[in-house]
């Protein structure tokens, strides 16, 4: 056990820092806005950011698992280097890899299952954010049971004619393209009847309607498809293989420390809040009940931070994460919820004031975080789905009866 990086990696860190010092000397905005981090709103794709990303790719710092011919930097897998890059880019607040569903979900899928033409056409622009993607998976009747989806596509004169509805689609208003799962073989068993299509969002017959969530904002959408005609070539993989195709995940190096880093920032914000808010003439943080709860949360947070280092070490040694990797989503989202809950208790009665209300502590941002902490608990595999995965794949308990 050694928490220091070796001389080789420290040299690498110095090199990355020098690169950032030379090429990204923009003063930090000072807005430590974890809500923006949460929703991905901080991702910059202006000309300056794009020029910087191209340079960073050239140097081998971004998209290390993507071949050069498709716009990546094609570096050998090295989780420690990836972590150092992520840490240093974050420190410098420099444009990093675009975190959207395009680079994180579509690109690995195309790399594994796409045709040469698809790879050449889409990957480079997706990595630079000049093609933005939304994900057409969930439907009103297909949430946790995604494979029961009913949006159908029928081949007609060289086109897929798509009819149906998608829901919870982030970025559907901004995205130029959608990668979607649709039913093309209705006569087959449910997982075998699905295909993976790339659909241009300006196709006639597509109607995007904002979906207002509990916070009052509309960060998601419903997407209605009515006789939308999609060129037959826009299928990824073969007909009926969409389910398997969509299971492609980022198999290569991933920076594993990022999630706990965000939680640490939120927690530090909570401590500052408890120091600033007074009740009965004393800072709330002097209340032993609050101190006890803060320490309980911090133990869980430190566990999450070093769990990240443990998984990183497993990756660096070429080992699977096993059960340790399966629990991270449920663990971190539960912790995030509990941190947000304590923040609400710290502000006490003023917690009833709405986000943005100037009289609310911290402008009511903790109220917003409290609601969002529920959103992330549900999104991308709700908590009970995570529990099934942990119990079945992690602990070896019997699978649920499923139809």
């Amino acid at each position: 056990m050694n928490l220091a990086y070796s001389a080789e990696y420290e040299r690498f860190r110095t090199e990355v820092r020098r690169f950032l010092g030379e090429h990204w000397n923009e003063a930090p905005s000072g807005a430590a806005d974890s809500i923006a981090d949460l929703t991905g709103a901080h991702v910059r794709t202006d000309a300056r950011a794009t020029a910087f990303r191209l340079l960073a790719i050239e140097r081998g710092y971004l998209y290390r698992h993507v071949p050069r011919r498709y716009g990546g930097s094609e570096q050998p897998g090295d989780p420690l280097k990836s972590t150092i890059i992520a840490e240093e880019f974050r420190r410098a607040r420099a444009p990093f890899e675009i975190m959207g569903q395009g680079p994180s979900m579509l690109v690995p899928t195309l790399l594994e299952h796409g045709t040469e033409a698809q790879k050449e056409h889409f990957i480079r622009d997706t990595l630079l954010g000049t093609i933005r993607w939304c994900q057409g998976y969930s439907e009103p009747g297909a949430g946790s049971d995604l494979a029961s989806l009913r949006t159908r596509a029928v081949l007609d004169d060289g086109h897929w004619v798509v009819n149906g509805q998608k829901i919870w689609t982030s970025n559907a208003r901004e995205a130029e393209w959608m990668f979607a799962l649709v039913r093309t073989e209705p006569e087959k068993a449910k997982h075998d009847g699905i295909s993976y299509l790339l659909i241009e969002m300006n196709t006639p017959g597509i109607d995007v309607r904002p979906l207002r969530q509990m916070t009052g904002d509309a960060d998601f959408n419903e997407v209605f498809l009515e006789n939308a005609r999609v060129p037959a070539d826009n299928i990824v993989g073969r007909r009926g293989q969409g389910w398997v195709v969509s299971r492609s995940t980022l198999k290569h190096e991933r920076a594993l420390i990022g999630g706990a880093h965000l939680t640490r920032r939120t927690f530090d914000g909570l401590v500052m809040l408890a120091q600033a808010v007074e009740r009965g003439g004393r800072p709330v943080i002097q209340d032993p009940v609050i101190r006890n709860r803060l320490a309980e949360l911090e133990a869980r947070l430190v566990a999450a931070e070093y769990h990240g280092y443990r998984l990183l070490t497993l990756s660096a040694r070429g080992n699977d994460h096993g059960l340790g990797g399966m629990v991270t989503k449920l663990y971190s989202t539960t912790l995030g919820y509990d941190i947000a809950k304590l923040a609400m208790d710290v502000v006490g009665d003023r917690g009833l004031l709405a986000p943005g209300e100037p009289n609310a502590p911290a402008m009511g941002m903790f109220g917003l975080a409290y609601m969002w902490s529920l959103g992330v608990l549900i999104a991308g595999g709700a908590a009970n789905i995570q529990r099934n995965i942990i119990a079945e794949r992690g602990l070896g308990l019997p699978r649920d009866a499923r139809k």
């Binding site: 133990a299 430190v302 070093y306 449920l330 009970n384």
Partner: protein, 362 residues
């Protein structure tokens, strides 16, 4: 950057686990539990022959010269097997002696502890939930000790007891040998029958000062906190494993109960809490030898969190076993009882969370 165990550490864990698997099945645990002294000299000597009590004792003093993390990995295995014995007292006493500058005491007692020839323990806690050096009421004057210590582990079988007390200069540790005049050791019945405790009364008993100041006491306490966290992790993990195994074989309503979501989700929640908690006590153990400025706070956080989790694991395990889990014959209550000890000894979770809050400067 490497936050994982070395090959030697993995081997150490396997060696201890294999030894306990063959030498310390629950039938033997129960026999020791039900014995008068609660101590099985042959089992302890076997562990000493493997090097367990001397893992973190430097080689010049007869130990293996490793770190607290290595000792904690052994503690995890002892907790997993619910092993009876004086491990905790000896480990805390070794930590205290290593922080002492008394070379005679070190030369006499450390090799004896490492080899299993002697059992030494630490008497810290006092009436009123006192575990802090600054609040001790036991007094030392001119090499004589007067006071009462509650909950001293392995005191009844100890050859020597390191007594935390105060004299005119503040807190320190005094070594009192077995049979000293004025020393009374009264065994207490504990819920956990694998680690016996006793009340120690000192009535003008002779003691030799081995460490002045609070550092040796704090080192012993912090080592103890980390080792309890490791014991708790090992025990909690065993509770989870036993329950998964049971859920796969026990059938009700025509199927293994592990197929019901109510059962699956309780176990998944337990695994989700436990898996990252491993890294919390690993880090605290690592800090003991490498990051002294972060030790006290993280040892407190680890002890509070892991022992709470152990309690939850033992409760969930018992509940999911149903009636059988509530019987004396079934082994689960051995771990349940051990969790009670781990939670309470050296102060409960709330005490250590409040200490951690103070130490953070909140």
């Amino acid at each position: 950057m490497d936050f994982g165990l070395s090959e030697d550490q993995v081997l150490l864990k396997e060696t201890v686990r294999r030894y306990l698997g063959s030498e310390c099945p629950t039938t033997r645990v129960r026999a020791i539990m039900e014995s008068e002294s609660g101590h099985d000299a042959a089992l302890w000597q076997g562990l000493a022959d493997l090097g367990v009590p001397g893992l973190a004792i430097p080689t010049p003093h007869g130990g293996a010269g490793l770190e607290l993390l290595d000792l904690a990995l052994a503690a995890e295995e002892l907790g997993r097997a619910c092993t009876p014995g004086p491990f905790l007292g000896c480990a805390m006493a070794s930590a205290a002696l290593l922080a002492s500058e008394d070379s005679d005491a070190k030369a006499r007692w450390l090799p004896a502890v490492a080899s299993g020839r002697a059992i030494v323990t630490v008497a810290l806690g006092e009436e009123g939930g006192v575990w802090d050096a600054a609040a001790l009421t036991t007094r030392a004057r001119d090499g004589r000790l007067t006071g009462r210590k509650l909950l001293v582990p392995a005191a009844a079988v100890a050859d020597a007891i390191l007594v935390a007390a105060q004299d005119g200069d503040g807190p320190g540790l005094w070594l009192v040998e077995r049979g000293a005049p004025g020393l009374e050791v009264a065994a207490l019945r504990g819920t956990d029958m694998t680690r016996r405790v006793a009340a120690v009364t000192l009535g003008d008993a002779p003691g030799v000062v081995v460490a002045g100041g609070r550092r040796a006491i704090d080192r012993a306490r912090d080592a103890g906190l980390v080792l309890l966290a490791a014991d708790a992790y090992g025990g909690a993990r065993r509770c989870l494993d036993m329950t998964v195994e049971y859920a796969l074989t026990r059938e009700q309503f025509g199927q293994p109960i592990g197929g019901f979501q109510g059962v699956k989700h309780q176990l998944a929640d337990l695994a989700t809490e436990l898996e990252p908690a491993l890294s919390l006590w690993w880090y605290a153990a690592h800090a003991y030898d490498h990051i002294p400025e972060r030790l006290e706070r993280h040892a407190a956080l680890a002890k509070a969190h892991l022992t709470d989790l152990y309690d939850r694991a033992a409760r969930v395990a018992t509940e999911l076993h149903g009636g059988i889990g509530f019987t004396w014959e079934y082994d689960l209550h051995l771990w349940f009882r051990r969790a009670v000890f781990d939670r309470a000894f050296l102060g409960d979770a709330e005490l250590h969370r409040l200490r951690a809050a103070d130490l953070a400067g909140w």
